[in-house]
Symmetry: C3
Subunit: 342 residues, 3 copies
């Protein structure tokens, strides 16, 4: 058995790692989804294979470098995958250069806006995935000519994360709209500013965030507040969210739980109530689900969700797969799938 | 010379591999291709650099994970490359999540249909590459409004492969069309079901497959049967294939050989006869080629092929490069190139 | 502390590297850019985050294999990145298969044309990046229906590089236009031929290149000559370039310097004078900049540039970010950013 020198090790491990330690990572999540709707035009359903019932599928490349004085530089390039019907690899999930140190971290490029963090699976039982995903009742409804492109991420952003101080952590982001100075009414379109503050103390987590994007047709403002408490095996969750698009508004309140069972499983449940002003309609969503971990990296899951539209707008539907043409009335969805991380 | 601990090893080899062993793989194949045609409008030719004369160029990412009880989970993401005039990396060659074990393997996502296996280089002297590629006379001809999108792969598929039992192996695939239940005549469009059974016993290989895709304008059905026999340095090959598109039909019979010479080379030859009913025209194709392996991963190759169209349809051409505008009559092509696998 | 065998090492380092040593590499460069113009329609400005102020952002995959007799085979796949507003990963920076040995190197596919080498940062103080990039006054101006697609790279190319012999090195490239032989006047469009010869002797570097692309609307010819001399910490640079598009012509002369300071920094300055015949207008560009290396892989940078258009054409602008709508008159730009290589 020969001994191996560090030099030989570097050669054996390949030039890429010796140079720069690029990490390839990702998630591949796919399952069966059935959605149905009872609308004014009768009832309709669809059976699909669809991606992302548990976690958003992705392929990414990232790395960091130690600089002098405890500083680090890094990059992060990440694109979404549609495992069921793949297309181009488009690096729009995240594309940043980072500098970090004792002052915190600055990221330049395309990244999540601060308010999105409160809609992830750390603060919402299902995060923004599957039939019960947070996007259904916590994302904005287009109104008055304004369709938000910044409720999840923004291009052209300067994103600052503070260090964690006694449980407090802050995040502030500014993004350029990049219009010409003489463009007129739309010259500030897409300009974004937002922030988030969180506090963690033992079993308790609190997080509040807000952000505004300028649009000549009516600004878009998103605000939310999340609180959760770990009570034994149960993580009790509360989430409030508000989207203002021009003069319209939707406000949602969620109560939910993630409950660990038998070492490898997690039961999830959520109930959301949405009130709409000047757009769409009131609605509620109820979702239950179960995640069974086969390993740290692989899980089976199943979810069931119902959206009940109040009034005549009939605007909201369950998530999962191709939602656009399952329109109107109350909608129901269920799914079972497999999520593999790498 | 320092000794290296397993922990240090993991650090030195990079986070990606310690976490998940992502394998990057691919093929880069490019060469010179000359095609010419003698048609009703005179003769025409074209000189090109083109990809894929020997093997389809690709870039892919894959990995597997051992689960409990002999099970494995895995993912496979693979896109085509055009080395000569590259475009977006589009992961449409294969995009699947897999679960495997003693029961066989299930793949979910976009994958090859079972019938395609019988057109690969294991069953056709040239596979589906280069001037003599199987696609020319074994792929369907669009007819009656139906253009097949499933004669190679299908989106939204559940693909099952049995274990090998005494030389027998089976493959069954179902793919969702994903239309709304009230869509009308086209609601089953793109729904695919197919299967393949193969038998291997020493020098003998047999493989039969069939598959059907629903289309309101006329279903598409592909069937084929392959037999080959290893006789010393020669692999003798027979392939039958039939494509029904609506009420039309093309049927092809091939005899061919792959003959190993001098340890590093392989001579290939194929003769195909196609009969057409209700579409296109009868045709024959004759191809000879040679592959010279510079190593396990790199080869030089050359191919020569002639397609002879019978009757007035003049529909079929040799493969290789940009075929679409070399139309009509009999066509001839030759190429020489280099294929590098990684 | 256990000892590690070579076999265990191969397993630990992952299948990809054991098989084929694929190297993942790239650059992520992003910064703040402000551009302004004083034109006939008044003055206008724009603030942006933009990529590539110092070096073109990219993600690539490459590898080589040793063959018998000192030969090597390899592949190179590289796509551009827009860190600020990412899109599809499109492998159009370079896509080649290579064979190399004592005879030199042959690359097949999409690659840089020989004349482009003389516009890179080895021969121009700022290369083709940032507000002062060489592309502004050294790239062709579209005229008479001809818009060059080959002043940086060409598809479908055969690119030969000689070995270095006593300081002399040569590069010749031919690229196929790939049109049908009976296409008429445009049948040679996009056909490219070009070459470059360089000589290096101690502090002195000389490089001359020329290339022509056929277009029915008027051929495009680019020629350039670069000379630079390392004088202590200063690299003194001279560059001449000429673009003929049909009957029009632009000719540029640059003097510049790259001056190393304090071990980690480099001051850069350039002055370019452009003369135009039959198209656009005469112009000058003056740029100064500074690069501060935080490490071998990471640098901060800042640049300032002014383009002064003579006459009424007002055609030229500083580089950096979204230039297309900052039109007319004299333009000014400044930027500061971070470049991270991996």
């Amino acid at each position: 058995m020969p001994l191996v020198s560090a030099a030989l090790l570097a050669i054996a491990c390949g030039q890429a790692h010796a140079q720069s330690s690029v990490t390839i990572f990702g998630v591949a999540d796919i399952g069966y989804v059935h959605t149905s709707a009872n609308g004014t035009a009768g009832s309709v359903s669809r059976s699909q294979l669809a991606s992302d019932g548990n976690t958003s599928s992705r392929l990414g490349f990232r790395g960091t470098e130690d600089l002098r004085g405890g500083m680090k530089a890094g990059f992060w390039l990440e694109g979404a995958l549609a495992i069921d019907q793949p297309g181009s690899l488009t690096l729009q999930r995240r594309s940043t250069v980072e500098l970090s140190g004792s002052f915190g971290e600055v990221r330049l490029g395309r990244d999540y806006v601060p308010t999105f963090t409160n809609l992830t699976v750390a603060y919402h039982p299902f995060g923004t995935n599957g039939v019960g995903n947070a996007g259904q009742l916590f994302y904005p409804v287009a109104a008055g000519g304004t369709t938000s492109s910044t409720h999840v991420r923004s291009n052209n952003g300067i994103n600052y994360f503070s260090p964690n101080v006694a449980g407090y952590q802050a995040n502030v982001m500014y993004a350029f709209g990049e219009h010409l100075s003489n463009e007129g009414a739309t010259k500030q379109n897409d300009t974004y500013v937002g922030g988030r503050v969180s506090y963690a103390n033992g079993p308790l987590n609190l997080s509040a965030a807000t952000g505004k994007t300028k649009f000549a047709t009516g600004d878009y403002t998103q605000s939310n507040f999340a609180a959760n408490y770990q009570l034994g095996a149960a993580k009790l969750m509360y989430l409030w969210g508000e989207n203002k698009v021009g003069v319209t508004k939707t406000t949602s309140n969620l109560v939910g739980v993630q409950y660990k069972v038998s070492g490898t499983g997690e039961v999830r449940a959520a109930y959301t109530d949405l009130k709409a002003v000047g757009v769409a309609n009131d609605a509620t969503q109820m979702t239950v689900g179960y995640v069974h971990n086969l390993s740290k990296r692989t899980a089976l899951y199943t979810n069931y969700s119902v959206v009940d539209n109040k009034g005549t707008g009939k605007q909201f539907v369950v998530g999962g797969g191709d939602k656009t043409t399952v329109a109107g009335g109350n909608t129901t969805g269920y799914e079972f799938g497999v999520r593999h991380s790498f």
